[in-house]
Amino acid sequence: MVEFRVFRFDPEKNKEPEFQSYEFDPYKGMTILEGLYYILENLDSSLAFRSSCREAVCGSCAMHINGIYRLACKTQIEILKSPITIRPLSHLPVIKDLVVDLTPFFNHFKEIKPYLIPKESPPEKEYIQSVKEREKINDWLDCILCGACYGSCPVCAQDDKYLGPHALLKALRFVDDSRDGGAKERIAFVTQNSGVFRCHTIFNCREVCPKDLDPTKAIAKLKLKAVFKKF
């Protein structure tokens, strides 16, 4: 038997959120996401949560599970102690139960222009990128935009203009890209009031990232690049 204590909030019924308990027998290898589906299908069809790929690729199912922000589909019930407490991501408005409104999160992502900006004189055919140049951005590529880092960052709670770990990590990914021509503009943008220097180096983002990325390091690199104008 395992007990799920799930954060419930229905805007039509409740003013304040409450926790609801569900008990069931998990099978071997059952993930939290499968547990939630089990509840949805057998115990309570009003439960709302997001998911899509169920294999840690799409980033839809990030939530706060027993003390840590993680992907529900990447976490097995077995490794956790019952009761398992599940909350939605923090620092974002809750639409219903475990579903949050990710608009601020994605707005910050768009603000850093997450696409290549052409160089002043683009090549005739295509940009050639050597293996070495490609390796430079290896560490910053794999973000799946799950929002775990945003939810775990205490600065995001206080300053809704703060770009957030995900956006700053992405900014470095483009600054370091040999095909990108917008480094100067990007550095100027991330050094605004609510940019890199707002980071308090709390390390939560790198602790929770399900893709083992290191936004803290990316932010430190951006800071140094900005200070020494090396980009």
Binding site: P11, G67, S90, P154, T201, I202, N204, K221, K223
Partner: protein
């Protein structure tokens, strides 16, 4: 839609409740010691500025603060300074050398240095507390 609204004190408790790890702990400690040091600065300036009214006034004020209790608070103050300073160095190290992977190890090294520092501090200041 539901948005959690919490006052400044509850905000710290909430963040700690949801992210119980070394990073959050050192950030909270840094905040707390920072605020204590800022408050101390005011007290310090008030006492020292009594010198503006001549040596007698300075001496009276100094006598006021030479009690067992203030000596005891001095130990507390030094602890705050050490914690704030060591954590500050830890952050500077991260920013300059990108040692994010080793941040937990660095935290424990800083903790060990703090313990050593406090042993020395106590051996110097505890006799003072009891010398009155």
């Amino acid at each position: 839609m539901y948005e959690k609204k919490s006052g400044i004190i509850k905000y710290y408790f909430d963040e700690w409740g949801l992210n119980k790890n070394i990073g959050t702990f050192s950030w909270l400690l840094h905040r707390l010691t920072g605020m204590i040091l800022a408050l101390y600065l005011f007290a310090h300036i008030i006492v020292v500025s009594s010198g503006l009214w001549g040596p007698e006034s300075f001496n009276t004020w100094l006598k006021v603060v030479q009690t067992p209790l203030t000596h005891f608070l001095e130990i507390f103050l030094l602890a705050c300074i050490a914690l704030h300073l060591l954590n500050g160095l830890r952050i500077i190290l991260t920013d300059l050398l990108f040692v994010t992977k080793q941040h937990k190890a660095i935290f424990w090294v800083a903790g060990a240095i703090f313990v050593l520092f406090m042993i020395v501090t106590l051996s110097v200041f505890l006799p003072r507390v009891f010398s009155h």
